[in-house]
């Protein structure tokens, strides 16, 4: 069986002004883009291919879903004219549809299903025809299956017309209310009513009240209260003493200190009351703001500070290096290796000469204490290839690609790592949390202080490639 999703622009146009910059099919429902719920259902129903057709632009959706490899189902895309009727739309897709059983999802609809049900068998036994319909669309089967029986059994499914913000908000709250979600929700869940993503930093004095769904790279500061019924998107910062309940916070949003977000949707610097649809755009960064990934002026200053620091450390290390390096080299305790590491730019790598000093004898201990193993890397800071402080360089190999992908948004390959400065474990998820924290809160002054701390710490290890 194949699935054909037909979405008309007029059915989702209402969402565009509310969440500008997000394609309506990618609007997150409980931190999962809407289209993914449709893809999940198509797979559950037994589809082995999916085609998405619309009379509106699909480039953003195409970029996100690509060829469907993430879900293990080939996804193709097509278009039709707004004036086309169903017959014409099916005709335009006849090559995709020919000779196959087709599950058509027509409309901007949320399909309420339960992942526990065996929809594959239920659909296989279903005869051709409409399965479910509502005023804004339908779910239907065309073509016959070998297993078809005359089945009048009601399928454990229902359709929800996504036609207002209130419906969207209530749906999110409904999904939150399941102790075990009938849908696949991102994040991990070790207890009912709770899904938490990766790199979530929750202050000891913060309170999390279930049900909640929290995305990746979220920071919840001291004294904050999250929940009940809160959806926190990825890359969100909830600042001190703030409360978020019965609300949805979209990704890349900063919620300022001492605020109360209740029965609201916060998306960047937009605050929306779902029931009335009234929204305000905050001009005030102290209250609510979008988190921007690039701060060009600060980055420039930071880069200059890093170069000056590198130069200073080179000056300090030069004499000890010239004295100790030949001795360690002769003793065989100065071990160099050249490896490829990920850079800050997506998909790019750089070759670095890293050094390991075998800690045996007084000379090698002095060399390690002076961080002479980092001496050669400091020149990469001067050329702008490395930062002086940031994340420990990640070796570019297949084993580490998944780890790198998780850190990509904030990773900054550096000579010293924030984790070293804080004397946290220099590997594993704890290191990632520390590095992520400082990457978000980093500023040139803090970098100076952290570099000095890291330089003065005695034991450094560049992770083995």
């Amino acid at each position: 069986m194949k699935t054909l999703i037909i979405v008309k622009e007029k059915d989702y146009d209402w969402l565009r002004p509310i969440f500008p910059g997000i394609h309506p099919l990618l609007v997150p429902i409980c931190n999962k883009p809407f289209i993914e719920f449709l893809i999940d259902f198509a797979i559950l129903a037994g589809s082995d291919a999916l085609r998405l057709v619309s009379d509106g632009p699909l480039s953003d959706v195409e970029e996100y879903c690509d060829n469907g490899i993430r879900w293990g189902i080939p996804i193709s895309y097509g278009s039709f004219l707004s004036s086309d009727d169903m017959e014409l739309i099916m005709e335009k897709n006849h090559r995709y549809c020919s000779g196959e059983r087709i599950l058509s999802m027509n409309g901007f609809l949320f399909i309420k299903y339960d992942k526990q049900h065996a929809y594959r068998e239920l659909f296989a036994a279903r005869p051709e025809g409409e399965i479910l319909s509502c005023s804004k669309g339908s779910l239907s089967l065309t073509g016959t299956s070998g297993e078809t029986t005359s089945c009048d059994e009601t399928l454990p499914l229902s359709l929800l017309e996504l036609d207002s913000l209130d419906v969207y908000y209530r749906l999110s709250m409904e999904i939150l209310s399941f102790s075990e979600s009938p849908y696949v929700i991102p994040g991990y869940s070790i207890e009912p009513y709770c899904h938490i993503g990766r790199n979530v930093v929750i202050s000891k004095s913060a309170e999390i009240i279930k049900p909640v769904i929290i995305g990746n790279n979220v920071q919840i500061m001291a004294g904050s209260i999250i929940g009940p019924e809160a959806v926190i998107g990825s890359n969100v910062i909830i600042d001190r003493e703030s409360t978020v309940k019965r609300s949805i916070v979209f990704e890349n949003t900063y919620i300022g200190e001492h605020l109360e977000v209740q029965n609201r949707i916060a998306a960047g610097n937009i605050l929306i009351e779902p029931e009335s649809g009234i929204s305000i755009t905050m001009d005030d960064p102290h209250l609510l703001t979008g988190i921007k990934s690039s701060r060009s002026t600060e980055r420039l200053i930071q880069s200059l500070v890093h170069r000056v620091l590198a130069l200073l450390i080179i000056t300090v290390q030069l004499v000890p290096f010239l004295l100790l390096w030949p001795i360690l080299k002769i003793q065989g305790r100065w071990k160099k290796s050249i490896n490829s590491y990920y850079t800050n730019e997506e998909g790019k790598t750089l070759l670095l000469t890293t050094t390991a000093i075998e800690r045996k004898g007084a000379i090698s201990l002095v060399a390690a204490a002076l961080s002479l193993d980092r001496f050669s890397l400091l020149f990469s800071v001067l050329s702008g290839r490395l930062a002086i402080i940031g994340s420990g360089p990640i070796a570019a190999n297949a084993d580490k690609s998944a780890a790198f992908h998780e850190m990509e948004s904030w990773y900054k390959a550096a000579v010293f790592s924030y984790a070293e400065a804080e004397e946290w474990p220099v590997s594993g998820s704890e290191k990632a949390i520390v590095e992520r924290y400082f990457a978000v809160h980093g500023n040139p002054l803090l970098d100076i202080a952290m570099t000095i701390k890291a330089f003065l710490n005695l034991i450094h290890e560049i992770p083995a490639p």
């Binding site: 605020l259 001009d283 005030d284 209250l287």
Partner: protein
């Protein structure tokens, strides 16, 4: 912003009509003029019916006016908050500090 005195209830009430934006650009003006209005009364109603937007500076100025009024055993009530302005008051929990009325008439009657 304009100021006038209402004595219909037998008390001298200072009615301040706020309009447009109340933000960092004009919140200091409110604080300065509020000190002058306090020479006439310490019972105030800020009519926000024509206030389109308020930010944290504006909120800070209104809270500061409330504090100054309370210091002299006065009161400051708000009226006619638009849904958008009301959202900012709720977001910042400032709504818990003030008595808020749907219109100036009901605010006057409350004194």
């Amino acid at each position: 912003m304009t100021f006038h005195v209402d004595t219909s209830t037998g008390k001298t009430l200072g009615i301040v009509d706020l309009s447009g934006r109340l933000d960092a650009a004009n919140s200091s003006d409110l604080l300065k003029t509020f000190a002058q209005w306090q020479q006439q009364t310490n019972l105030f109603i800020f009519n926000c019916a024509k206030l389109d937007l308020i930010d944290s500076s504006g909120l800070g100025a209104i809270v500061s006016c409330l504090r100054k009024a309370l210091e002299r055993n006065g009161e400051l009530k708000l009226s006619g908050l638009s849904p958008k302005v009301s959202m900012v008051f709720e977001l910042t929990k400032a709504s818990k500090l003030f008595s808020i009325f749907p219109d100036t008439g009901s605010a006057i009657q409350s004194f």
